[in-house]
Symmetry: D2
């Protein structure tokens, strides 16, 4: 297919693919290629048209190596050994036996000695943010978040043979279940009611009696993929003969039109009250005598008039909706949620993070060249910075100082002078093209260089050639 | 005029009027009569149609006794002497000299010795909640709040001859300036712009240069009334030959359609997200690349589509608006803002507050008769209680335990059993008629009496005859 | 007796006594006379030497009128009717039946209708701060607090015939049980152990089985007094033929040497660390290896040495104790706890509170004379103001702006300039003598008058003649 | 010297020494040997007797390699490159030019590009907690803290040639300035007054005019050591021809007798008030009339009596001092402050942290043997756990789950059953000897093994042989 051009799982493992992708110079293109690899051979276009948010889909590949390199139990073991994994924060120990779901987390650090002991006794292990410990998972998610325009997260699940770790339930995210090792028997069920289609919140644990018959039942093997939208109930258990390791990649948590409206609608009302006197006019003197729940059964013409005035005002609200400003509020949240980019070798070499300047033999060496008007620059990634107006000033929000641990850092932003707005906007819109610092629409030559230095030091832009 | 029937300021002072009004058995009727007296001879109907929220109006009566009994400087002095008036809390000492507005409040209690010293040196005195100290002001405001369906407040202003205490400004309330003693020279100005018509917030102090020419200039004398809507700039100063005492009665602070929508609109969105899957559907994957302030100049067809989807969703919102529930939220706030009713002698005699039971000669005497099914009851005032649904249960909110000091008490409410809802609603809707306890639509005879006792003990209902 | 000279309960009721006392010009003398009346005929000197904090004492007078005028059930009824008495805040409804102690407070205001209903059904009523509602109780306590040098409080107890309202227990205060009406059967028991002699905290409710035999059993009649120290267990019940009303006057809560040391000892250590290097020297490197609970059984000579060093440092601590500063901390708390003085007619006439200046016939009249150097002044009460050093500046703490409701007002104080310290100290030490403003040791004549005006406006000083 | 036996800086670098020390089986012995190396050739005994907390001492070695391996600017550069160093949190950029001390921290991560730019422009760099980034510094400090019985901290300072980064000042810690690279010119000054000997708080920056003449002036070269006690003013600047890198190792912050007394003295008073009625007796009725600052000049015999009563009570306080419990409070703070131990290979192999159990070829392998009664165990380090009574229960506090970042983790402890107290105490006192699990004084065989497993899983004990 067109979308799949140049990406193939056959005989190529993920690290090769990621190396190839590092040569794709537009990060949005990179993102769509990686997503295509994830759901291949289904074309992404088809997927988003027919499947996304609509129904489950299963990809069986008969190729256990397809997702190789993404994550493994060996990596799991290495992480336990080398990193500070804390029970309850980074790792959950769970079981689901005879319809009873339990969590067994002790306090403190999860060391192999205790973790493997739990596993041997039949407990499932869920690693909550593998992106903080695995560079590859970090890299993959940080690329995919540009595809989704919404945070991409992941959990890893390791299940002993013949056991189940979780009760049937549905989640509040779009889920891509990527089978990495072994096998797992999955059952997927339709949302139970219209109200649970694309739900806002995850469900509690269900009893088997509550969920009806599965619409999909399958044994997932290494290399296979199972996608299902939020609201679809699911459960997975291991066959007696094999353990299972899978990673669930997720996105679109609180990313609906309604979530945007939650930011937009109060803002629209505020604007309406400022701009339209109808919204500031007083309520009828006597409205409390015929409105309200205690009067809801009254057949009073004043009620009709009141409802119709309300309806008219609510309809007018749309005229005052500051849509772009509300999108920016949502964008700010997204930029805060984002993983920082995992830089390619080339990106490193041309950005502040990989600047060669260093201490050697008693002094600072390899001091970088200065940024000049001739230096050619661009954003490090299409989505790594965004210009937002914050009422008073103009702010640049950016992802490059975020942490691999969710929200460990505060939202990162800095205010820029109004006269630099055009230059930053120019840079953002020029991506993926490099432009010379001299071409930035600033008032003075000095300003151009100072602005470029500022953005370079924050890790937001890269140079065409290493400094 | 029709509205004015039976109320006249001629030769009748306020205490007579209030006595007359105590014989008006419907508190809403009582309220409209008192309001008519306030603005007489302008018919209330005309006033609300042509003047209210639209323009200033002046009533000159040539009758200095018209408002007699409402408040006086002698009462002011008595209050200072007998009550705990605190500077900054209950009393402000101000001056406006050579365009400079100052406040002179020392800490602590405002005693006559210091207060009159300030007055003698040319300072104005503003008493902030005379209703807490003056029974008459309390009575008048507690009646008027039923007319407005919104809190009625008051400030008293005492100004020495030849001085001005405040800079020109506009307020966020409808103002009735009632001249009580002496004279005051007033100037009223139009709102400066469309945005300042019926404004949401009060203005800062203005310079004389900012406010243009007055549309009304007058010397108010005792017995006169000046009304102006929120947003109309005003200033008053004393002539060299007379001090001035006036009370400003105010209402309709934060009581606009927009204020109601602030409660309604988020609730409507919440319902919409629960009931309509369109609100739960995900945003477009790429919306951040063409929406937001940084893309607002882009001519992108996807923007048009996005705007039109937003518009369509916002228009639909009205379908989900829980109007009665939002009105109840507003009603709850109003009931919290309300002054408690000042009971008439008759109301006292037939309610818990005036029950004759007392200690005399070593024992409890005059024990009241029990409430029985034959007892006839009704609400103490039309607006003293309200049935609101609070998500889970049904609550009765009520004003009779409020304080004369604004929000000194928490909102007063109690939950009633679902099977008592109809009975309370029946009582509310029966007002001003008395009904027998036996006629309450409750499951059992015992329930009827228990419910009536509960409402009686809270001071919400009165009996037709003293118990 | 000498102490009792001039005060007698015979035929003289409390209001006469209080009138007499208003002629006693030294408030400390006034306090000791009132206390003498309370415990008459026991001489106060004897009482404090032999009884106070040591054992119960009973005074039976066969004079039911002795305490007449202090409080009555009629006053109780009046308060319910006229004041805002809140269940749980100002009034408790209790019962003690078959060994079970219960509280029956409903929410909201305590109106006669419901209160007397509880009483009739056998519940006891405890009014928690009668001083806020009764001028006489306020007056008596505000005088007695000068006698105790510690807050004087009171509760009123009304008990129906044949009932008991409280379980046996002991309190954390010295208690003077003053029988006002009817009769009550009292039993008093010794503290159960040495640890419960003069206890720091009140006890829980005891079972009858826990408290042994009473050391005192008596039927208290109107006019009688029963005193017992904190720690003495007590219970009282009504005989079938009479109700009981008593007021318990209390003092010396948290007023022990230990309470003072809690302020003094940390301060002493702070001074010691500043002034004596021995306190700043480091601990032994290895002290954790032989000290601490896990090493407490070790027989290690280093432990002995460590203990002895600690002992030596603790003994030295006394040398650094800022005793007067700690007493001032305690004094500040006391002044905050104090009731404001209830002024006599004469005090009123010569202080800011009773200044005759008033509004009459359209203007301020009876403007007071100015304070001049010839004006003779003194503190309004011996204990109404106190000079305390607060680290940086010198502050005057005072009681005259306190509320009759405990701690309703913040502690009242103001900073004075260092050069006014001597003058305020001079005033304090001159009491009860009047001194001329001109005799205040200030730098300038103007300063003397300004300081006197300041103190006069705060209600701290009175003039020898009305201004 | 005796103390120095087996540790020498000649030709041996720190990693060899640390390897040697890993063979020293008692962690306290290990600590004292490492400390001896630090101050060699001065014998530790002599040092602590004559120098510690008393005066500066200088060790010039003419051996630039003596401290090699502890830290280097190359390591500094590596850390900037690889770790998340944040300006203001982990790194300060400072300058001291013409008597003006400035800090230049930008927000965000400190990358080599910006850091070396600051350095090149003459700024000094202070790394605030090198132990979080350097394993060697972590190891050294975690060993030394057992020598000091108090937290050992460190800062690293890198100064460009010809500059000074800090104003003269004194600190609140004992400081060991270890010169690592280049040279630095130091001046040390006596405490200015008795009050600044062994001060509780660090000083502000001083002007050169405030500090007098240095008592020690020297150019420190790589391999040299300068120690000075808290309170000694110091400043260091670089000669024009060489940069300087030094690490300052510190200890004994808030570790004085007075700091212990701050925990002990309030506790002693609490006990005294419980146990001795003299502390609970009331203050004199009239003490406020002769005590307090306003009475401090009075010559009143009651003052003498009051002072002497206070003195007597304060002297008695020592009798009630719960010294071991207060030491435990201090110990708890210390265990919270501690770095976690950096385990040697051998410690790793025999503790939970290095247990060989792992995931290999699709399954859990190398499962450890079980702990049995025959297993021989001991604490991992002498000071890694401590038994403290916490009022109600007995708690084990421990350091093995602490973070290398100061107080990043909450204090770590767990309650043990009372019947296990003896066993834990036995284990603590047996150190450095191994004991069999069977020899633990527990009630049952099962208990012994369960307790050992618990302690093993927390990382508190090691086994004599790998499991």
């Amino acid at each position: 297919t067109e979308e799949g051009a140049g990406v193939s799982g056959d005989g190529e493992d993920l690290s090769d693919l990621l190396t190839d992708l590092s040569q794709v110079h537009n990060s949005r293109e990179r993102a769509s290629r990686l997503f295509q690899w994830l759901i291949s051979p289904v074309p992404a276009k088809t997927f988003f048209k027919e499947t996304w948010e609509k129904k489950p889909i299963l990809v069986q590949r008969k190729n256990p190596h397809y997702y190789k390199g993404l994550f493994s139990t060996a990596e799991f073991d290495r992480i336990l050994r080398q990193e500070d994994v804390q029970y309850g924060v980074n790792l959950d120990v769970t079981s689901y036996v005879n319809g009873k779901r339990e969590t067994h987390n002790p306090p403190g650090r999860a060391l192999p000695f205790t973790v493997w002991d739990f596993y041997e006794s039949g407990c499932s292990l869920r690693m909550l943010n593998p992106q903080a410990f695995s560079s590859t998972v970090w890299n993959v998610l940080s690329i995919l978040q540009e595809q989704f325009g919404s945070m991409a997260g992941a959990n890893v699940y390791l299940t002993p043979p013949g056991t189940q770790g979780f009760a049937p339930h549905y989640d509040d995210i779009e889920a891509f279940v990527v089978q990495l090792e072994g096998k797992k028997h999955w059952r997927v069920y339709n949302p139970r009611t219209e109200d649970e289609v694309l739900p806002v919140f995850s469900s509690p644990n269900f009893d088997q009696a509550d969920i009806g018959k599965p619409i999909l039942e399958v044994v997932l093997e290494a290399g296979d993929l199972l996608y299902f939208p939020r609201g679809f109930i699911h459960q997975g258990d291991c066959l007696p003969d094999a353990h299972s390791l899978h990673i669930t990649i997720s996105s679109f948590q609180k990313n609906s039109w309604g979530d945007l409206l939650q930011k937009l609608v109060p803002a629209a009302l505020e604007v309406a009250m400022e701009e339209d006197v109808e919204f500031r006019q007083g309520l009828p003197l006597d409205y409390l005598t015929y409105m309200g729940v205690q009067n809801s059964d009254k057949n009073d013409p004043r009620r009709t008039k009141f409802f119709s005035r309300i309806e008219s005002l609510m309809k007018k609200l749309a005229n005052f909706a500051p849509v772009d400003a509300a999108v920016d509020q949502k964008a700010r949240d997204f930029l805060h949620d984002c993983l920082p980019p995992k830089l390619t070798a080339e990106e490193l070499a041309s950005s502040v993070q990989g600047a060669p300047v260093r201490w050697e033999r008693g002094q600072v060496t390899d001091v970088c060249a200065q940024i000049t008007e001739q230096t050619r620059v661009r954003l490090l990634r299409a989505g790594c910075a965004r210009l937002c107006s914050d009422g008073d000033g103009v702010l640049v929000y950016y992802t490059t100082d975020n942490s691999r641990v969710y929200h460990k850092e505060e939202p990162k932003s800095f205010e820029i002078e109004t006269e630099h707005t055009d230059a930053v906007e120019f840079l953002i819109h020029s991506y993926p093209k490099f432009v010379t610092v001299g071409s930035l629409p600033c008032d003075s030559e000095e300003d151009k260089v100072l602005l470029a230095e500022l953005l370079f030091k924050r890790g937001i832009i890269q140079t065409a050639e290493p400094l």
